[in-house]
Symmetry: C2
Subunit: 103 residues, 2 copies
DNA sequence: TTGGTGGTTCGATAGTTATACAACTGTTTG
DNA sequence: CAAACAGTTGTATAACTATCGAACCACCAA
């Protein structure tokens, strides 16, 4: 048929669920949004913006990285994060594919 | 500029979170997907497809309805559900708007 | 009415998770 | 080396939630 094959490989069920869970938490969503705002975002700054412990920040960032929504890169003492927009787009596409129906 | 203003009102923070949580559960996602498949789906059928109690089905459907992802309509003895694609699309749009960045 | 079927609500339980503190690793600077 | 700073990990706890059985409500048919 004519439905062009997706350019990206479809998300696995496991990753789809991971992403869903990662996005479901308001705090994590806020972190993601903050990271998305700037070009790169050191973890330290995040801690100062949200009144939570650095352990919690680290935990949330780990979830986001595991879900593939964020990439981390160590820069000396610091860790910089950036959003993986491809993953985010793959997720929304998959979401619409699954529940968006045929129109 | 030329980006047409959204036809839909933006999702409130509360609803955005509700939707996120609703979509995060694999079972609920499966239910949503099933509903999306057919035109209308009576609750009874759902119960027979997923090996869970009807109480659990009811609970999940309530979550989906509360999130605005699904609409329920009583049809005599039965309750039919249909997916609110507008909500789903509003969610994905908001997601990309928040975290999709300017890329 | 009585019964039967479809769905909801209640109460309890088990599993998950967000959070913090403390201890630890890694890095830079004296 | 030691000290200071950035992040991670371990442990514990509190809050949340998915799940079920049972009781209940809504509708339909005798």
């Amino acid at each position: 048929m004519s439905t062009r094959p997706p350019t990206r490989p479809a998300l696995s069920e496991a990753q789809f669920t991971l992403i869903g869970k990662a996005l479901a938490d308001p705090r994590r969503m806020a972190l993601l949004e903050t990271i998305s705002g700037g070009r790169e975002c050191p973890c330290a700054r995040l801690g100062s913006m949200f009144a939570v412990s650095k352990a919690t920040i680290s935990h949330h960032m780990k979830e986001l990285v595991t879900a593939g929504l964020v990439e981390s890169r160590r820069e000396g003492q610091y860790v910089n994060y950036c959003v993986r927009r491809d993953t985010l787009q793959a997720y929304t596409a998959e979401l619409l594919r699954r529940a968006g129906g045929k129109g």
